[in-house]
Amino acid sequence: MRITGLKKEHFKLWNDLAGSSEGSGFMQSWEWSEFKEAEGAKVERLGIFDSGKLIAGAIVYRVETSLGVSPLAMPHGPVLPWKDAVKAGACYNLLRKKLEAMAERTGSPVARLEPFISSRPAFLGPALRAPLDLVPTPTLLVGLGGDDAGLLAAMTQKGRYNVRLAERKGVEVASSQTNDLTGDFHELFELTCSRHSFHGEPVGFFNRLTEALGPAGMARTYLASYQGMPAAAAVAVFFGGKATYLYGGTSPFLRHTMASYAMHWRIMRDARDKGMKLYDMYGVAPTDQPHHPYAKFSAFKARFGGTMVRTIGAQDIYFYPQLAKTLVSRLAGTQGAAS
């Protein structure tokens, strides 16, 4: 086995591998990495080959700083053959050595892994649970197998009722893979962020996201309207076997139209028609945490049925030489300031 940097010609090979890995997700796709690269992140694409065949790897993101604190981030990664623990362990050891070399080169004191897996393999060794997650856990996965009747049957009774109510009220759902709907989406998104005191990305971010991922069919903006009034909007990402509800917003004045139900129902059907197996609602509150920031959305998401899945969350591997250098340089700096 050998680990090496991937080149543009590996694009399809890599996407096929990441897309078919249950432990991965859209943030390990080549397109997402190009989007983040254009946003200013440093990106390294690593592939592990066994007898010439690509079997594992990781897309590693890093925001360059001179503070010596930037982690080597692998959201939705690394991509390993998780089901074969021996092979996965061997791949991980190769990857880890490569990450150590990258840490030495970049001064990063930590690598943060975030695979979409539910139990922590022993070969991860002393990795520590990180205080922050990029990939929300737990999350709600709604199965997309089946026809319309099957999908509706898997929802809660109220979910089904609201989907039909929205249809009866005449809620219309439009979608686009260009920026036609981004402005309307962002107004609702911003309003929702303000209502829940969340920080929201600027509209430019969504324009760039759609431009980067839309043409490949990986991202779509949805807008549900009632009597011509924007009532709910979302950005969904499609990769591998999974659609993800990445961002959304609703109008507080049009809740009675149940437009959000109509919109998610449409996303689910689009995803199924694209061959997706699951719809990831991207985070729900753990059932034992009523004050969790996502608690308010979770009851709504639960109406679509599905199962709640808790992943192992972000795991940190510390590189002690780099952490020591960073600390010592800060110590020296503060003493300099004091003198």
Partner: protein, 707 residues
């Protein structure tokens, strides 16, 4: 096409301009910002260079800073803005404000990248202004780095001036002082400025920060001699005041600051946003360079290291991480790295090794030198997490707790017979008798009775009102246009710009009048503005729909509901407008106390100090101790409704333990504080170290019969 969402909003008496939802200027007070940015470098360049001036404006496509330069008589000016949409708006919509500056014959407008312009051009400028949007991504942050400032310096004439818009020194102290250090490291000797811009404050941006800088140090005498034209906001007096910055911001920001070499350095610091805090406190005068130098030298870095945002949760997480770290190889690496440095660093690391077991128990006083190294390591780990921002990689949210030790897949099935919390018809009845919470759950609208400040005594001064619209789950606008914060089931705060009156829902008279919490007011104003805008849009659409459908009201329940909804949204809009106006136009609060960072805020104006003392800040910014745990019996409840009307410091019991004037004990306040503590306790997880503190207080209170 513009890459950003540009919005011009009509505001009473003017217009406001937003880029991506972030306020750029409000015509009613834009003079404060643009005069402070443009006039000092202009006046100083004129005084120094004594020749017709060549100016450069980087960003600032709205033309408002440019207008000041042209009015001040510059010989020529170049403007470089990358957004053609902003420049087009400046020529059309803002021409009345910028006086057509962009089409002045002395001006050359370039659409393009400022970095490229600086690198590729050749001529020198006598003064340069940088008026960029707030740096919230890597591209934006690249305009605040040392390479960028060096490029600006290279295009300045000898003795030329540079002025730039920065960030709030109160909300982003580490970022602000990093920009200061970065300017200095690019040999642009900086002077910081602080401005209170009402429209910025009402958006929750805090006081704003700028820098005036030059390759040639700016002398105190030069600043003192500056005079500005009559009729404007900027005068010698307001300029001198702008040179005064809060010492508390310097103390918090400077130890965490560094030179911004890469955009990621600033992005990491920008993620360390702090909540707005009450104004006031000691000020540092940056018009006196000797005093400022001595102040900056007196911030000794690690020895005064504290991180106000290191909340109890973060501290808990970091301690857990530190406990699980493999210390032996780390300490060995530390000693290896430190061996190349002067002896003191190595000595401190050895102290750390010696004291590590106690440090990991959290049992060492924070004056210990080993603790300082330990605290610095914690800060580095916070930086690590801040350098991992949501917007750099993907979206995300704060961790949800748990040790993440793996285990089997956890699956919870959602039962199909669960009832939906969403379906409601709150806005569709003839009247709004319910409020819709942020989570979409309708709740009965509380009726409230209260006596407004200054209202006459007796029943005639009591107002009956209804909590009409929920801005969030905890904040409401009443039908009469009052703003309320809810504190649990029993208590409300009637929020005014100069006081937060605590109300028991059953009593019209305030129990106490707290010092107002500006961050709550600002958040509310932002929320109100968003909802007014949204209501406008909804009404606009309804207007068209109902113009056609209204005749059907008599037989169509659906249209009747729509019609009611339009009427109710209009009423809510009216209340929101009234509330917003009252919060902006009411009398301002007196200068607030400087609240130490380690006080635990329980509610607006109510703090827990040193884990056992309850301190209250009244509307006049006076601090009082409240003997929550003290014995001595419970006083007359009627008298105690207005606790501050008691003779102060007369409460029996443990007066000696308290550092501020002691309020008398009262059953009413005991009950209120117990409710606040119970609510705070229920919001935190079992592993949170504050839990033990709250429970100790509450159990002591139980012993006293408060619960």
């Amino acid at each position: 096409m513009s890459r950003h969402r540009l919005e011009v909003r009509e505001v009473p008496g003017g217009r406001a301009f937003y880029i991506d939802g972030s306020l750029q200027f409000d015509s009613r007070d834009e003079a404060v910002y643009h005069e402070a940015l443009a006039l000092p470098p202009l006046a100083l360049a004129a005084a120094r260079l004594k020749r017709p001036l060549k100016a450069l404006v980087l960003g600032g496509g709205d033309g408002l800073a440019l207008k000041r330069l042209l009015d001040g008589g510059v010989k020529s000016a170049e403007l470089v803005d990358y957004d053609p949409g902003v420049v087009a708006l400046a020529r059309a919509e803002f021409a009345g404000y910028n006086g057509g500056a962009l089409d002045d014959r002395r001006v050359k407008v370039n659409i393009g990248d400022a970095v490229k312009f600086l690198a590729e051009g050749r001529g020198l400028f006598d003064l340069a202004l940088a008026d960029f949007t707030f740096p919230e991504d890597l591209a934006g942050c690249s305009l605040f780095t040392r390479p960028f400032f060096s490029a600006v310096r290279a295009r300045l004439a000898a003795g030329g001036l540079f002025a730039m818009n920065a960030v709030s020194p109160d909300r982003f102290p580490a970022a602000f002082w990093s920009i200061y250090r970065t300017l200095a490291s690019a040999r642009l000797y900086p002077r910081p400025l602080r401005l209170s811009i009402p429209s910025f404050t009402s958006h929750g941006y805090g006081d704003w920060g700028m820098f005036l800088a030059s390759p040639r140090p700016i002398k105190d005498s030069e600043l003192e001699a500056l005079r500005f034209g009559p009729g404007g906001w900027l005068t010698a007096g307001t300029f001198k005041d702008a040179l005064r910055l809060r010492v508390s911001g310097i103390e918090r920001g400077l130890p965490l600051s560094g030179i911004i070499k890469k955009p990621g350095d600033l992005l990491c610091l920008i993620n360390m946003v702090e909540h707005a805090f009450p104004g006031g406190g000691a000020m540092a005068d940056f018009s006196d360079s000797a005093a400022a130098r001595s102040l900056l030298a007196g911030i000794p870095g690690a020895e005064k290291l504290r991180w106000p945002q290191l909340s109890a949760e973060w501290e808990w997480w970091l301690m857990e991480t530190l406990r699980l770290m493999d210390w032996e190889p780390f300490l060995a690496e530390l000693e290896k790295s430190a061996a190349l440095l002067p002896g003191r660093v190595l000595e401190e690391i050895r102290l750390l090794r010696k004291n590590l077991p106690e440090l990991l128990k959290g049992a060492v006083p924070d004056t210990d030198r080993a603790w300082q190294v330990f605290a610095l390591l914690m800060t580095v780990l916070v930086f690590v997490n801040m350098a991992y921002p949501d917007n750099a990689y993907a979206k995300g949210y704060g961790g949800s707790g748990g040790s993440g030790d793996g285990g089997d897949l956890e699956i919870t099935f959602f039962m199909q017979n669960q009832r939906s919390p969403f379906h409601n018809s709150v806005f569709q009845g003839a009247e709004v008798f319910q409020t819709l919470t942020a989570s979409g759950i309708p709740r009965a609208a509380h009726f409230v009775r209260y006596r407004a400040p200054g209202a006459p005594a007796g029943p005639s001064g009591v107002k009956d009102d209804r909590l009409f619209f929920a801005l969030t789950d905890e904040s409401f606008v009443s039908k009469e246009g009052e703003f309320f914060l809810s504190l649990g089931n029993e208590y409300l705060i009637n929020a005014k710009p100069d006081r937060f009156a605590l109300l028991d829902k059953l009593q019209p008279d305030p129990l106490f009048e707290f010092y107002p919490d500006p961050s709550a007011v600002q958040a509310a104003l932002g929320g109100m503005e968003q909802h007014i805008k949204s209501a406008d849009k909804a009404l606009d659409s309804y207007k068209k729909w109902l113009a056609w459908a209204r005749p059907a009201v008599v037989f169509s329940r659906e249209v009747r509901a729509n019609s009611n909804e339009a009427k109710n949204i209009a009423a809510i809009r009216g209340s929101l407008l009234k509330a917003s106006k009252r919060l902006q136009e009411g009398p301002a609060a007196k200068t607030g106390p400087d609240i130490p960072a380690d006080w635990v805020r329980l509610a607006p104006g109510l703090y827990l100090v040193d884990d056992d003392e309850i301190v209250m800040v009244d509307k006049d910014a006076s601090l009082y101790s409240y003997p929550y745990q003290a014995g001595g019996g419970v006083r007359n409840t009627l008298q105690s409704k207005l606790a501050i009307s008691f003779p102060l410091g007369t409460s029996p019991g443990a007066a000696g333990r308290h550092r501020y004037t002691l309020l008398p004990k009262s059953a009413v306040m005991d009950k209120f504080i117990t409710a606040v503590l119970l609510a705070a306790n229920s919001r935190i997880s079992a592993g949170d170290p504050r839990k033990a503190i709250f429970e100790t207080l509450l159990s002591a209170a139980t012993g006293m019969g408060h619960i």
